[in-house]
Symmetry: C2
Subunit: 343 residues, 2 copies
Amino acid sequence: MVQNKSVIFLASPTEYPVPGKHFAVETRKLNTELKENDVLIRNLFLSLDPYLRGRMRDSHIESYIPSFQIGQPMVSGGVSEVTESKNLAFPVGSIVTGTIGWEEYTLVSGGQDLRVIPDARESKIPLSAYVGVLGMPGMTAYSSLKLIGQLKAGETIFISAAAGAVGQLVGQMAKRQGLRVIGSVGSDDKVDFLLNELKFDAAFNYKKGSILENLKAAAPKGIDIYYENVGGEQLEAALEVLNVHGRILACGMVSQYNTPTPYGVKNLMNIVGKRITIRGFFVTELAEECEADFAKDVGSWLIKGEIIYREDIAEGLDSAPEAFVGMLQGKNFGKQVVKIADL
Amino acid sequence: MVQNKSVIFLASPTEYPVPGKHFAVETRKLNTELKENDVLIRNLFLSLDPYLRGRMRDSHIESYIPSFQIGQPMVSGGVSEVTESKNLAFPVGSIVTGTIGWEEYTLVSGGQDLRVIPDARESKIPLSAYVGVLGMPGMTAYSSLKLIGQLKAGETIFISAAAGAVGQLVGQMAKRQGLRVIGSVGSDDKVDFLLNELKFDAAFNYKKGSILENLKAAAPKGIDIYYENVGGEQLEAALEVLNVHGRILACGMVSQYNTPTPYGVKNLMNIVGKRITIRGFFVTELAEECEADFAKDVGSWLIKGEIIYREDIAEGLDSAPEAFVGMLQGKNFGKQVVKIADL
């Protein structure tokens, strides 16, 4: 038995989740008795991702990803240290990444879904990267551009939530391939970051002035690709400004997750008139095909300093609920991570 | 000089076009003096198609198809007889199809865009078929299913405007490939036609009850493909009922052409959640790749009676404006054609 601080899922929100009402920090006892192949891990970093909001829905609503269970800890990607093990693949002391609870310790039955990070203690790469640039968000950007983006040098790409976990990488990867890159973000600080640190060609704050006019000004020759993370009004503006044979990579629509009255997009006629292709995707369906290339390419870009990856690290499990709500509202600056414990 | 009854484009409508206000029948003199390669044709059948509404827009609004010129005849596909010719490719007496004016006679400069229908006078195929099942609507259905539909036997397809020029063929072609076929139409007569003549598996009248509930009842296992002709509420219902990895072939959105307040589609999140692909297309960009197959396949199905093609033939040019508005409102029953003259 250990004392185990956790973030427990309490109830499904219809709008933004409220800490204390829909999820709350609690300390419970964890039975640490391991069966054959079980692994006990001490959690170090927790990944907060917009898609988790979908798992907070009412469990009666069918969807394509299971809902969280009321009374149980929330679940996400994370980085952890193995503290006890009855599984030869995960020796005590190894650093692993995989699906963990929002809690100090997780007993992982059969070691399921864990993966050892080789040489993690010696590496110059910070451990948080394994839930960011070298984890799911990185793979999302890399695999979607590589497998369905069909990027061509000279094209223009527009990215919403462009300073976010995925967006900042999409922009840098597209620039590497010779595209003109435009990003939208929710603050002037983030505009500066895109222009001055990530070297985007244009960027605007979607909260200032008309999104459509901002986008038109940033893309006088239109856009060829819209990398969709936000939905609603930004999607409507992108449809207006897309060129003939434009493509939309639909990664997420975070503006639509926390409202009972979603935005009605009124200009879908452009799909026909401009022969647009829209493709929704899950990283889980793309990852396998480019696992090896991803590790090689992104790992080397990162070590050589050829890509930048900004993280927003909240300290301690207690901060996780507020950090999650903040991320859904765009208050994070870079990939939102929670640091649960030091190595 | 000949007297030439024509339908003249007068002004751009913002809602449904009004005969007499936005277009009107007028008799004008046509100068029939031919230059080298010119052809004078006597028009027999005129095709009325929803996309023509887009050509009635204000010429200041840019789009991907030229707007009609105010004071000039409307233009569409048609079938005609060559009455005078200075072009060896189009001898007098030959029957041609191509782009014609909404008028009794058209002087086709250089014979541009005309194509001779071989053995037209001897064939059992009615001439109107060349603006229907063997013309642009037929090619639209055939090429889109063949080149981008990726139909698989056992899948379910839902078609809106399913008794229309394109829809009725999409349904029959999909049935030939072993799909379960569902159609929506705007009258009970059309429901009967789909079920009893075209042998659709299910059909409903979108004007009766909830579109979503009707579609759910018709597709208890969901739909895999939505063939989009209508837009708005039908698109929203289709997004709700599409299965994972569903596809939308976006051919047109006729419900959105005649309103200054288009419908806001509120459930586009399904594109991400269900990894849906939406693809807009123009037949003109697909036709070349399957020209030969189309003529062979559809021609033989038609002659063997393996496909049915219902036309709604309005008599005389005077009826063209009303017939066009009726078609935009879904009053036609089958492909809308105007018979201008007997052969």
